[in-house]
């Protein structure tokens, strides 16, 4: 009780009435089939799996499990469609993609609710971030379709062919958009597999893609787990694999595609450093820390999961951080007050809880706010670990949950070395009001995305991707076109 004595005043000052988003306007079928060659068709082996609402663990719908036979049908449809799709003028290709962007915007509310139902993320995030960004991504790349010659001066970009795309469960629709939009704009055809715990918005997207009138076979969406993904990766008629997910699976895919001439881009794990200097705007930095690690329950590959605070301000930053954590609202993802939703799956919850145990066993000092977690479903309180060092596993390994490790530092060189001392290189954050210090750090940090005095910002025009074991290739912006073209 002692530990929360000071912090409880924050909680007491704020009471909220429930403000749940209505689910009346959404349409969810009991059963979802595969989208292959412009048709929704049953899986050849007839198997289905359940998709659950992670905040209750109740079943939402049955989803088809694609086997290698279904994947083959999808690849063959894509291969056939490539003949005419790749010859279509860029202008016409672009128009289909613009249509998809518009159709997502029109049904944005429905998508947001389903995303939160199926994935557990707060409705505020799916409504304000995931869905609008997904639509923007299609809109952005639609405009590139007839301008590709300007993206690659002195070269002659050509589409690759059939592209296999495998996406994760943390931003289901947004990741589908990141993958599909540039692939289609450059004239490829696609077989896309959403993650098995979050298939619904990808399947709703299939409905929209169907409505857009895009030629059959250009986009095929097959659902299933790892085996379905492996069937895509190993299919001989797939010319390129784009994968977003864990570093372990990424390494497996790099190995599996060795010697096949398949092009490959990987967007993998991370362990982002978030660095707070004594001359930072401390209150803004505290908000930044919260956003860096608790955004989307910490299910973010670029999360700022390693906090480095300059020693002189460590006490005040940690105090303020604990106070702020007391005010976080954890609960129903559909409630508009909710800050932290449900952990995406039981399996992921076990992973996170296991890491918390590891942290305690290695001698870390834990802090969690005094919050009532719902009884059913998968929940994890926002968690801090202090008294940890570089060698702790929770400091080195990606947890993919709302768990932050805090270390202190004295000098710039020290923090640069600590921040870069990781096999990952996806993201980093720096908080200082000193301009030269900011640019010095953004240059020295080894990561694909650096946020200065902000964190976890994304945009269709902004290239995203990692260095080192966080993968290769960029998504977003001009640079995001390159993975989907080949040259003479």
């Amino acid at each position: 009780m002692q530990k929360n004595k000071d912090n409880s005043m924050f909680k007491a000052s704020w009471t909220y009435n429930e403000a749940p988003e209505s689910t009346d306007h959404i349409q969810i079928k009991k059963k979802y089939d595969l989208y292959i060659d412009g048709k929704f068709s049953k899986p050849i082996k007839g198997k289905y799996f359940d998709t659950l609402n992670p905040s209750t663990n109740e079943k939402i719908a049955s989803v088809a499990e694609a086997t290698s036979e279904d994947v083959d049908a999808a690849v063959q449809a894509a291969k056939k469609a490539f003949e005419s799709w790749s010859k279509l003028t860029g202008k016409e290709r672009g128009k289909y993609i613009f249509r998809i962007a518009r159709l997502i915007q029109e049904r944005a509310r429905e998508f947001a609710v389903i995303e939160s139902l199926d994935g557990g993320k707060p409705i505020r995030e799916s409504r304000d971030i995931d869905i609008p960004l997904a639509a923007n991504h299609f809109f952005y790349y639609a405009g590139w379709a007839d301008k590709l010659a300007y993206a690659f001066p002195n070269r002659n970009p050509k589409p690759i062919g059939v592209v296999g795309q495998i996406i994760p469960w943390n931003f289901p629709l947004l990741m589908a958009a990141w993958k599909l939009a540039p692939a289609l704009a450059t004239g490829n055809t696609v077989v896309l597999k959403p993650a098995e715990t979050t298939s619904l918005t990808a399947l709703k997207l299939a409905e929209i893609i169907h409505e857009s009138g895009i030629p059959k076979g250009v986009v095929n969406i097959v659902t299933g787990a790892g085996e379905t993904g492996a069937a895509i990766v190993n299919h001989p008629d797939v010319g390129k694999i784009a994968f977003t997910g864990s570093t372990n699976v990424g390494k497996y895919i790099q190995k599996a595609t060795a010697g096949t001439h398949k092009k490959l881009t990987l967007e993998l794990g991370g362990k982002g450093a978030n660095i707070i200097f004594e001359d930072a705007a401390i209150d803004q930095a505290v908000e930044g820390i919260i956003n860096a690690i608790f955004f989307n329950q910490g299910h973010v590959c670029c999360a700022g999961s390693r906090l480095f605070v300059q020693e002189s301000v460590a006490d005040i930053v940690i105090d303020k951080l604990k106070n702020r954590m007391e005010t976080l609202i954890i609960g129903n993802p559909l409630d508009k007050n909710t800050d932290i939703g449900a952990i995406n799956s039981k399996k992921q919850l076990q992973t996170i809880e296991n890491y918390i145990k590891i942290g305690l066993n290695e001698g870390g000092e834990i802090y969690q706010p005094d919050c009532n977690l719902p009884k059913n479903g998968n929940w994890c309180a926002p968690t801090l670990f202090i008294n940890v060092s570089q060698s702790h596993r929770i400091v080195q390994e990606e947890i993919f949950g709302p768990v932050l490790t805090i270390q202190t530092f004295r000098t710039i060189n020290e923090v640069v070395e600590k921040a870069n001392n990781t096999p990952y290189g996806l993201s980093a954050g720096v908080w200082t009001q000193n301009g030269a210090k900011m640019f010095h750090l953004t240059q020295k940090l080894n990561a694909g995305v650096i946020w200065g005095n902000t964190f976890n910002k994304f945009d269709a025009t902004s290239p995203f991707g990692g260095t080192k074991e966080s993968g290769f290739g960029r998504e977003g912006g001009l640079h995001g076109l390159k993975p989907y073209v080949k040259f003479d």
Partner: protein, 286 residues
């Protein structure tokens, strides 16, 4: 009156020094008549690992050197090579080239260095962007070197081929460990002498002579190498390189070219291959 020639001992080039292989082993290179040209150092995996440590230590300061400075250093290499071109032509001829081809190769090699010297302060602008994000942020993407690059140089055109893959990597701020042509390694080590007198900091370019069969696996699997370039057409080797590269998600680059005199062999897009895009965000609202 006859005079006995002084023959050169060809050694490795690591960290700006010319050590022998730690293994004490050698392999012989003969001319077309079977006469001994040189006993080359047969570099070991340990030599490669030592070179990686040195290349890693050299990388930050090389990347931090100004673009103009890097350009001038590359130009200086060209100057040094120009002054010693007769030696390189005769070495190429000794290794089996015709006189005409040898001359062309050396000239192209010098010009290629000048070509990349000129790119040193330009490619960044070519591959960078200011991104018009929808929120109130200033957002830009630039390129940075991938880090330490292991290079298996082409077997043929042993001077021009090596320079054609090394120059775009180092002008981009990377440091490299090169395995020279196995069958025609002489010019690679003579080129190291040129590098050594050209203001190229020690450790930026490290050159080994030895066998692909022994070293390629270590080059592809080393956990502190960021990228591997293989020049050649051995599909089995490419497969095993890619498999080992997956251990630390190395970037693999394969050049299957046979003729490095082709103008397509010089391009800023070859610099781009060993670059990483970094995107930086900062708020603009106060």
């Amino acid at each position: 009156m006859s005079r006995l020639d002084i023959q050169k001992t060809y050694k490795l080039y690591i960290g700006g020094k010319f050590p022998r292989t730690e293994s004490g082993r050698y392999f012989t290179i003969n001319d077309s008549k079977g006469n001994l040209l040189a006993n080359m150092c047969l570099a070991s995996r340990k030599d490669f690992r030592n070179a990686v440590v040195i290349a890693r230590n050299a990388q930050n300061s090389w990347a931090s050197a100004s673009a103009l400075n890097k350009g001038q250093i590359l130009y200086r290499i060209a100057e040094m090579l120009e002054g010693r071109k007769e030696q390189f032509i005769s070495e190429l001829i000794a290794q089996g080239e015709t006189a005409a081809n040898a001359k062309t190769e050396v000239h192209e090699a010098i010009d290629r260095l000048v070509y990349y010297a000129g790119w040193s302060d330009k490619y960044q602008q070519f591959f960078s962007a200011v991104n018009p994000v929808s929120s109130s942020h200033f957002n830009f993407s630039g390129v940075e070197p991938v880090g330490v690059v292991a290079i298996i140089a082409p077997e043929n055109q042993p001077l021009l081929g090596l320079i054609s893959v090394v120059a775009p990597a180092i002008v981009g701020g990377n440091t490299v460990i090169v395995l020279a042509s196995e069958t025609k390694p002489l010019t690679a080590i003579s080129f190291a002498e040129v590098l050594n007198s050209s203001d190229v900091p020690g450790g930026v370019v490290n050159i080994l002579t030895g066998k692909k069969a022994e070293l390629a696996g270590q080059m592809a699997s080393h956990m502190d190498v960021n990228s591997i370039i293989y020049c050649g057409t051995d599909e089995k080797l490419m497969k095993s390189i890619s498999e080992s590269a997956s251990l630390n998600v190395k970037r693999t680059i394969f050049y299957k070219k046979h003729d490095w005199t082709n103008e397509l062999c010089e391009s800023p897009y070859l610099i781009e291959k060993t670059q990483e895009v970094k995107t930086t965000w900062h708020p603009t609202e106060i």
